[in-house]
Symmetry: C2
Subunit: 229 residues, 2 copies
Amino acid sequence: MAGRTAVVLLSGGLDSAVVLGWMRREGFDCISLSVDYGQRHRIELQCAARVAAAAGVKEHLVQRIDLRAVGGSALTSDQPVPKGESSDGIPITYVPARNTLFLSLALGLAEARGARDIALGINAVDYSGYPDCRGEFLESFAATANLATREGVEAARRGDLGFRFHAPLLRLSKAQIIRLGNELDVDFGATSSCYDPAADATPCGACESCRLRAAGFADAGIADPRARG
Amino acid sequence: MAGRTAVVLLSGGLDSAVVLGWMRREGFDCISLSVDYGQRHRIELQCAARVAAAAGVKEHLVQRIDLRAVGGSALTSDQPVPKGESSDGIPITYVPARNTLFLSLALGLAEARGARDIALGINAVDYSGYPDCRGEFLESFAATANLATREGVEAARRGDLGFRFHAPLLRLSKAQIIRLGNELDVDFGATSSCYDPAADATPCGACESCRLRAAGFADAGIADPRARG
């Protein structure tokens, strides 16, 4: 398996850092891809670069797309990020078609670099409100990807699988993800989960993402190096 | 049907201008979306803005994504654009995952604006070498889109179709497309098809796209207002 290249979507958050560690352990040379889409939690882009460097990726690419011009989400507008308990249904932090867009960018990059494997940190347990974090979405995207691309079409002719998509965290709880990251020596201190951090990058501690992170570390019995004293 | 909004991918080329005219005739209020992806034929972005204004769209959005950092295509690199006869197979003007990416952008925009219809000018006759210009690709993308989005999930719960994708040129020849555009009063003089235009926007006359355009106008018996002397 040595020498196989994978593209890993890296947000700067905890989950995708664990995915990168997992793909490295699986023997992949990794290219990390982050997207600067005008998210209010831009500190995560600096975190992504630190995580990528620590993992020894062979390339770290940041693509810029301004989704503020599109809107439709609390993460790309001035709409307040909700604090406290989760509401039912799809949260207002949902960004229209975000994972479809990010996977499309990863697919083009993978094809251009001769990589066949693409990994991302979607999770259907804690974030079940997001439609594009479900396994059925990813399976459908994979089928589309193999119809959309030169490599997909040529692989089908050879009887090969074409592009393969890896979502190793899909069915893990936050605590399980954190334990896995711990085994993989992921530097949690380099990651940022908060949707609404202060200017100095201090997490708000109250948004859904902060609360899930805190509960996950507590359940895992591991200290979060980024937790506030 | 009055008042329904559609997002139309508008490249500045002839085909997507005809699609915009077609969607207007179908009764849609249209939002046009162009992508500045670092293509060497950037003149088409100016053409897109002219076509959009002439068609009276309610919004024209240009998204910027630098695909030169990705590469893998003659359209986003210094690789020469081939002149003369088409070669077999997928041309080197293929841009990895381009239509998947553009459709993802259109999907997010449609969802954010409350539009359910998305149209694009793919054609499986003249450009059969591009995997992402085939009907089976678009059908698969549509299924993915309806799994990926809030609107897709909610529509499925209501028993509705969710997002609908329109590719009215899919099975038309270039001459048929030009005749259709003529009926729809499309201003062909505002469109640019060349992959490798001169700095003053003069088409090269020799790339595959120029040759298909010239042959299409000849077959249709219509004069191309952009043809050279």
